[in-house]
């Protein structure tokens, strides 16, 4: 996927005196991480194909502060939050969608008491609502009949009790959805949360992502589905570590839907 996509910014909308239906919060991984950028593009294609009127903040977006907060740097977190809230409130943002469960959790739960009140959705919830409204069609296409297992991101699942939206979308792909032995509220972390993504793990006898990849491999999947750019990286590394990258793909739910339709 190396073609440019059209992505309107809030500043452009503002200049035209218009308001988009929803703000797409891209997040740091979605903006800068090579793997996650593909997820961002897939999601943008789905937004376009569903004729969703959306915009991004672009260069006005800044880290939500999640990794700082979970490292214990409340100060830096709140500085980030207040700055972002100022930008979003100036644009009178009402509704936000993001493909990152960490941004989702922070925007939804931790911004309100600092003055940022928005309706915040994870992209799987948003896609599900497009599907329910008949704006998005999801069909099997090239994934029909494939064995897929979904890894629950902690910050989507346990943290916010969203378990069904990603699964309902996957089911529409007419795939064979299998569950790992630990899933939904018992799902095991991929190892990236709490700012672990940005540091070496503490001494132990195994890496968490390997343990979780083993859970996934037990289900003999063709594809491991993820709903978080960090889980995606962790699981991809795990699959490589097990030398299974030729037979098992790790794909975001948005990528699965977009690729199925060859968007």
């Amino acid at each position: 996927m190396s073609e440019a996509v059209k992505v309107p910014t809030m500043a452009e909308y503002m200049a035209e005196g218009k308001m988009p239906e929803v703000l797409f919060w891209v997040g740091c991984a979605g903006s800068f991480d090579d793997r996650a950028k593909k997820i961002t593009k897939a999601f943008v294609k789905l937004l376009h194909s569903s004729k969703v009127d959306f915009a991004v903040l672009g260069t006005e977006e800044s880290c939500t502060g999640d990794p700082a907060k979970r490292s214990g740097n409340e100060f830096l977190f709140q500085m980030q939050a207040v700055t972002n809230i100022e930008v979003m409130n100036a644009y009178e943002i009402k509704k936000v969608v993001t493909a990152c469960p960490h941004c989702f959790n922070t925007l939804k739960n931790e911004y309100p008491s600092l003055g940022g009140n928005y309706e915040v959705m994870h992209h799987t919830q948003f896609l599900k609502s497009l599907l329910d409204d008949g704006r998005l069609t999801v069909e099997g296409g090239k994934f029909k009949g494939k064995r897929i297992t979904f890894h629950d991101p902690c910050y989507l699942g346990r943290a916010n009790n969203v378990y069904e939206a990603p699964r309902e979308l996957l089911q529409k792909l007419e795939v064979e959805l299998t569950e790992m032995k630990r899933s939904r509220r018992n799902g095991l972390c991929c190892g990236a949360g709490g700012a672990q993504m940005f540091k070496e793990p503490e001494p132990g006898n195994k890496d968490v992502n390997i343990e979780r990849t083993e859970d996934a491999l037990e289900t003999k999947p063709d594809i491991i589905a993820a709903g978080c750019p960090f889980c995606n990286t962790m699981m991809t590394d795990g699959v490589k570590n097990k030398e299974k990258e030729d037979s098992i793909e790790v794909l975001d739910v948005a990528e699965l839907i977009a690729n199925a339709q060859d968007l």
């Binding site: 440019a4 214990g72 740097n73 409340e74 207040v82 018992n186 132990g204």
Partner: protein, 439 residues
Amino acid sequence: MQYIPNIIFVIILIAGIGYFTKNVRKLIRNIKLGKDVDRTDNKKERFNNMARIALGQSKMVRRPIAGILHIIVYLGFIIINIEVLEIIIDGILGTHRIFAFLGGLYDFLIGSFEVLALLVLVSVFIFWIRRNVINIRRFKTLKGWPKNDGNIILYFEVVLMTLFLTMNAADLQLQNIGADHYAKAGAYPISQFISPLFNGMSEGSLVLLERGAWWLHIIGILIFLNYLYFSKHLHILLAFPNTYYGDLNPKGQMDNLKAVTDEVMLMMDPNADPFAAPAGDEPEAEPEKFGASDVTDLNWVQLLNSYTCTECGRCTSECPANQTGKKLSPRKIMMDTRDRLQEVGDNIDKNGSFVDDGKQLLNDYITTEELWACTSCNACVEACPVSISPLSIILDMRRYLVMEQSAAPMDLNNMMSNIENNGAPWPFNQMDRLNWSQE
């Protein structure tokens, strides 16, 4: 002379309850050493949580074997305590089975107590096997006092239940031979099988046996009551307030520190004068300490959590860090917090007020290696049967490390300075944030 047993009984009862009350007071004082946090909202939801999680044991059955056995012991514990009420009244008044006038209902009650007592014995036996024979990691990793504590309470249950059944069996035998004072009362579905063992015993020895079992039973219960304070079995009482005061927010939501908000708002406010003297003529308050390095920096709900912890280890067995061999164990976080709180409490008892003992929760109990291993995944919070959040303590201690000591691991410091300078955890320029759309 005939009132001597009644008087002795009342004295023992008052002593037992008095000592218990004294310890409960200490407990409440220690919990109040924590910082204030408002949990007075949503009374209805809180009440429902308490009814569902503590009374209804809803989270226990997620592990069905342990869960169902626990419910039996718990029901046995509660219901047999109704019998204790009768024991106390009989003890004070010198009566025999004062509730016998309930007739059929009484037979039913005593009958069910007996059945429960037997079920408790069976469950306790299985619990003992699980703790000591079968290789269950969350129990095997307990050493020293916590391990003994778990077993002591099981032995206690065995002794109490056996005494209860022996007392009933001797009573039944006395009723059958038509002894004075032992009027026919109650149904004895279990102890009727024990009483034949006492065939041929004289009335005198039977009375001795019945009275002996009766006295030991009630004394045992008073000892049990006073043992709670020193044991993980405080959860029998504290599970109720703990589930009531639990966090109602989504698990992913971490509190926003108010003191930080005030400072940030001041910094961001273009009209604020950074050199302005504090309003009014109050003396400048000591700057608030960010995060927690000792138990008194935690809030009272976190301290209540530590006393409520059942040391069951469900949290640790679900913890990704622990499963992959890291030093972190959320159960240990809770046990350390309680141990340190107890130490601080004893210090206050001894000295009148807290005298610096050169120790704190951080480093002396909980190491930074443990704290930095947490992924904040909330598996521990989800697993806990009594609504404890080990994660909230971990995060408060990280806050202290980072904001008071600047002692984060180097990688995290780099990540944070990236956020500060470029608005992303990696060294990319914020101006490049939309480049992906053109690639």
